[in-house]
């Protein structure tokens, strides 16, 4: 059990810290959260800087264009970028953390050559077309249909909760290629060009008041067969690879962000007197323990998975605890803000701008309500933990109420 940097890791950390120290002051101010073209431009230009400096896709293998850093160095990358207050992956999230790693692991040589470099250099942005109105947590119930016609699939159906869809170039799309097969067996994983004829994007307004994601309508869209990743009807297995990346380390940097925001919350509580409330203080202490332990869990999982390993079902434990910890943080912030927690984020006292680590609490609180729903609800994560990690039996009949 060793948590200290090796000589190589220490050198990597130093180099990255120096580069961040030089580069971050040059960045323009971040765009308005609702300005999606602005966010795309900002996020991809940050990605370009990472690319030019050799820090793009640190955790990607060298043959996929990444720097082939070890999993431990990937965690150092997350620690240092968070510590320095660097921008998030933002619009590059799906490309860098889902689609890219999936294509690197399951795509053909030609697909890797075509799609990976533009993700790394910030030229192209991806979105995710997995969920449908009738297939959320029960993803295998998806109905978007793909019918083979010569060298193309003709795709019709609709997708929902498609983040960044308005500004994406590509979509990782799940379609049903064999309606006769058992539901997990007839699915394929396709690469959809977002500018293809028949694709309509309709932004969805969330309870936070923002257009965070969209509905996607597909009307006889032709997608070349060459855009299929993995074998026909093998899309479920490919999807499980994608989702294990998501549940593994995709949220790791958010644990660090949570810890940092908690520090800012404590500082604010100390400034305005809320700190004298012992109960509130101790809840802050308990959350600090949570975030630290979640980071240690990431380090543990990464060490256990080893280089190139795909995170296992145990990642569901992380996802479960992380989502709840994040929501408790915002509820605690509301306690500190008092009646200020009822004001929308554009009101002045939401965050103290003298502290760059302090987020706009109410915006985050609203946004954070999605944590226990997105990427598999907490109830689904509990099913996975119970059945696949603990080995409890699957429900035998409907009366058992399983999922």
């Amino acid at each position: 059990m060793d948590l200290s940097d090796t000589a190589a890791e220490a050198a990597f950390r130093r180099g990255l810290r120096d580069w961040l120290g030089k580069t971050l002051p040059e960045l323009p101010p971040p765009p308005d959260p609702d300005d999606w073209p602005g966010r795309r431009a900002y996020d991809t230009s940050w990605q370009r800087r990472l690319y030019d400096a050799g820090y793009a896709g640190v955790h990607w293998p060298v043959e996929a264009g990444g720097s082939g850093a070890t999993p431990a160095e990937h965690l150092i990358y997350l620690e240092e970028t968070e510590r320095a207050g660097a921008p998030y992956v933002g619009a590059n999230f799906v490309g860098l953390l889902h689609a890219g790693p999936t294509i690197a692991a399951e795509g053909s040589a030609e697909q890797r050559r075509r799609y990976l470099p533009p993700i790394l250099s910030g030229r192209e942005v991806w979105c995710q077309g997995f969920s449908e109105p009738g297939a959320g947590s029960d993803l295998a119930a998806l109905r978007t249909r793909a019918v083979r016609d010569g060298d193309a699939y003709v795709v019709s159906g609709s997708k929902i909760w498609t983040s960044h869809a308005e500004v994406a170039d590509w979509c990782e799309l799940l379609v049903r290629t064999d309606p006769e097969a058992p539901r997990h067996r007839g699915i394929s994983w396709l690469i959809l060009p977002m500018d293809a004829p028949g694709v309509t994007v309709r932004p969805l307004r969330t309870l936070a008041g923002t257009a965070e994601f969209a509905e996607l309508f597909l009307d006889e869209v032709r997608i070349p067969v060459g855009n299929r990743v993995g074998a026909e009807n093998d899309g479920w297995r490919v999807t499980m690879v994608t989702l294990s990346f998501e549940r593994g380390t995709a949220f790791a940097s958010e644990v660090l962000a949570g810890r940092r925001a908690l520090g800012a919350l404590a500082a604010r509580a100390a400034r305005d007197g809320a700190w004298n409330d012992g109960e509130l203080r101790r809840r802050i202490g308990l959350l600090a323990a949570e975030f630290t332990a979640l980071w240690r869990l990431v380090q543990w999982n990464v060490s256990e998975a080893g280089a190139g390993g795909v995170p296992g079902a145990g990642a569901s434990v992380f996802k479960l605890r992380f989502s709840e910890a994040r929501q408790r943080l915002y509820d605690l912030a509301a306690e500190v803000l008092g009646s200020g927690a009822l004001l929308l984020p554009d009101q002045a006292d939401q965050a103290d701008r003298s502290d760059p680590a302090e987020p706009a609490w109410t915006a985050q609180r609203l946004q954070g309500l999605s944590y226990t729903i997105a990427a598999g609800t907490s109830q689904i994560q509990r099913n996975i933990v119970a059945q696949r990690v603990l080995g409890l039996p699957r429900p035998g009949r409907s009366g058992a109420g399983g999922g």
């Binding site: 059990m1 060793d2 948590l3 200290s4 940097d5 090796t6 890791e9 431990a72 965690l75 908690l262 520090g263 800012a264 404590a266 500082a267 100390a270 700190w275 012992g278 203080r281 101790r282 809840r283 802050i284 202490g285 308990l286 600090a288 323990a289 949570e290 630290t292 332990a293 979640l294 240690r296 869990l297 380090q299 543990w300 060490s303 256990e304 145990g314 434990v317 479960l320 605890r321 680590a357 109830q379 509990r382 099913n383 933990v385 119970a386 059945q387 990690v389 603990l390 080995g391 409890l392 039996p393 699957r394 429900p395 035998g396 009949r397 009366g399 058992a400 109420g401 399983g402 999922g403």
Partner: protein, 333 residues
């Protein structure tokens, strides 16, 4: 960074696990309950021979290992529900408070005490009573024979933890020079947290095992989502607690100095481990239903021991305050 257990650590853990399984199985556990939780001197001697009390000692008899190894061993010891003040005894051995020889039996108290009476576990069996005086910042050694007349046996909640209540004024004892009380307190807190993790893991195993074999409505209760979610949450509390304990142990292994980071992670580990153990035992009882409420079922032993360890070394209040202070220091930097 490689957080995985080393090969030596795995062997150490499996060695102690095998010993405990062979010498303290369910039959002996229940015999100990019937006998009121006596100290099993023969077993303690075997544990000493296996290195439990010399893990961290240096010199010819010691293994010279660190807190990380001690924490791993205490996960196993904690899961076994073996009675006795094991943590304080390990501390006494590691810090050379008692000379080499028989297996040490020591308890550690802190003054001023928290709320409630001043309780000492296994008082007549002790060879040493350590008192950590927070105000003076020193560690003192008291002769248990001098304390015994000031105490009376009381009925404790845990059938495996016989308790004595000290009612008189404690003698001054002798000051132990060269001891770092804050460090010793942190080590005791860590090893207690490790014990809780072992207990919580046993609670998960027990609940899952029962949920797989107990049938209701024509199927194992473990197939019901409500039961599955109880069990998933037990594991969800156990895993972060386990890594928190291991990380804190690694930080304590870095050197004799007690850094603020190490202090904070020890506090966090104890907080999470106490919760994983006490809530885990409660959930285990819930999964067992009416059977879990009986004296015959072992669930009560898990729950009651978890309560005892919650009150051993740093408690929830102290840990949460420690962490809050650390968050504020970090956040204001």
């Amino acid at each position: 960074m490689d957080f995985r257990l080393t090969e030596d650590q795995r062997q150490l853990r499996s060695g102690i696990r095998a010993l405990l399984a062979a010498r303290y199985d369910r039959e002996r556990l229940r015999a100990a309950v019937d006998a009121g939780g006596p100290l099993d001197r023969a077993l303690w001697a075997e544990l000493r021979a296996a290195g439990l009390f010399s893990l961290r000692a240096t010199g010819p008899t010691g293994l010279g290992l660190g807190p990380a190894e001690a924490a791993l061993v205490f996960e196993e010891v904690g899961g076994s529900l073996l009675p006795g003040p094991l943590v304080a005894s390990e501390l006494a051995a590691a810090h050379g408070v008692l000379g080499p020889g028989s297996a040490p039996v020591a308890a550690l108290l802190r003054l001023p005490p928290g709320r409630g009476p001043l309780l000492v576990e296994q008082l007549p069996e002790l060879e040493a009573l350590l008192v950590l005086d927070s105000a003076a910042g020193e560690l003192r050694l008291l002769d248990p024979a001098e304390v015994l007349p000031l105490a009376r046996p009381v009925r404790g909640v845990d059938p495996l933890t016989p308790l004595w209540e000290v009612t008189g004024t404690l003698p001054a004892g002798t000051r132990i020079d060269g001891a770092d009380p804050a460090r010793i307190w942190a080590e005791g807190t860590l090893l207690t947290a490790a014990s809780q993790v072992g207990l919580a893991a046993r609670a998960v195993r027990s609940a899952v095992e029962y949920a797989r074999q107990r049938e209701q409505f024509g199927q194992p209760i473990g197939a019901f989502q409500a039961v599955q979610h109880l069990c998933a949450d037990m594991l969800g509390r156990l895993e972060p607690a386990r890594v928190a304990v291991r990380a804190a142990a690694v930080l304590l292994s870095a050197g004799p100095e007690l850094t603020p980071r190490a202090r904070a992670e020890v506090a966090g580990a104890k907080l999470l481990a106490d919760e994983a153990a006490a809530r885990g035992a409660r959930d285990c009882l819930q999964v067992h239903g009416g059977m879990g409420f009986t004296w015959e079922a072992d669930v009560q032993l898990l729950l009651k021991r978890a309560w005892v360890w919650q009150r051993s070394f740093a408690g929830a209040r102290e840990c949460a305050e420690e962490l809050a202070g650390q968050v504020l220091a970090d956040g204001s930097r």
